[in-house]
Symmetry: C2
Subunit: 225 residues, 2 copies
């Protein structure tokens, strides 16, 4: 049996009254599967044919590298859905192997049945679309940032974004070390670039205060990439 009071706390079914939820599930086929600790729920690479929602317990996703060793881990607790972004699209395979951290219950809804649900309930449809869209937008933004090749470009982009419409001066909230990690570069390399940009009279740094001396010039760094 599904505990609807938990289900409606999930991102997907949030905002849907329990009664409505119960009515929805009476119209489709689904399964509640129980897994013991360390049971494998899905193998990475398997085709995604069901939407899984963790109803109780906790599961973990493990990346398996090419030599067969476990690499990264992400825990998924109730009542979160599992690989919701891989239900559709060209590459609808599980990117990770999922294992139960402890005794767990998972709701399994076949894709066709989930499609029916989406068409029956507007709130669910909105939830799901918002969920995968937000994810796509997040990825897109992150990618945009990484698309800048040189450290100078990254710094220029970061500073212009931070400044926004404000004045030319503002406070840095991060240390160079933190910024270096954000940009994916080493700390001395970042320091060197900051130094260069000061010599070129693009910016001025005093303690934690950054002043953009030449917004025009900073922009041209981005364009001529």
């Amino acid at each position: 049996m599904i505990d609807y009071s938990i289900l409606v706390k999930s991102p997907l079914f949030g905002g849907i009254p329990e009664e409505e939820c119960r009515a929805l599930f009476s119209k489709i086929h689904y399964q509640v599967r129980k897994f013991e600790k360390d049971a494998i729920i899905v193998q990475g690479g398997e085709e995604v044919t069901n939407l899984f929602v963790v109803l109780s317990g906790s599961v973990r996703g493990e990346m398996i590298d090419y030599s067969g060793k476990t690499v990264k881990i992400e825990d998924i607790e109730a009542p979160r859905p599992l690989a919701a972004a891989f239900l559709f699209g060209k590459e609808n395979k599980f990117p990770v192997t999922v294992t139960a951290n402890k005794k767990s219950e998972l709701l399994a809804i076949p894709v066709v049945e989930f499609l029916k649900l989406l068409q029956l309930n507007t709130r669910l449809l909105r939830n799901y679309l918002n969920n995968i869209s937000t994810r796509a937008q997040f990825l897109s933004q992150k990618l945009h940032f990484l698309s800048f090749k040189t450290i100078k470009e990254k710094v220029a982009h970061f500073l212009l974004q931070q400044a926004g419409d404000r004045f030319h001066s503002f406070e840095l909230k991060n240390t160079q070390q933190q910024l270096a990690e954000l940009f994916g570069v080493t700390r001395p390399s970042l320091a060197r670039v900051l130094g260069e940009m000061q010599n070129e009279n693009l910016i001025k740094i005093e303690k934690k205060t950054v002043t953009l001396l030449d917004k025009q010039g900073l922009n041209s760094l981005l364009k001529n990439g």
Copy 2:
């Protein structure tokens, strides 16, 4: 009026019979808007309240940088949809300003109405979900690639992924130029690295056939990053 013979050639409405399409649109509110050459269709930053589909003509998306100048351009011809990935989610603003390249007609469907359509027609729902999911998966994959710092790591990862559980030999379906773009590096740099990896007896390339000589070694490139 909508020319349904064109609409059903779009990614969204593909596979839906014209008659069915006509019936669908009789149930919702929508507009067909005409734009003269160089007319602004949407401003970047505006909230996305409509799904736009180019019915005739051609439009272009222009990025506006921080100083207010146009940067990048992407052309969208009929019958492609416009910013379909930004209809939902947290940041549902247009990332670009869209302008008409020439006299154009655009179908404008308010978000609420589009939701109705999705619930009325399973094929349309599948099309749309596949569309944005594929996009998200593409972004995700690309991001993963960029997380590897050296070209060697990227190549090792790519080759091991392509090979999968198959034999050690397989056919490359992409040119070096395409791979270089996928990796975000230049073509000669990629060629050099491929050469080095052959000298180190990690791989062998003959025409389009790649043979992985040392999977172990390729793996260790990824781990010791």
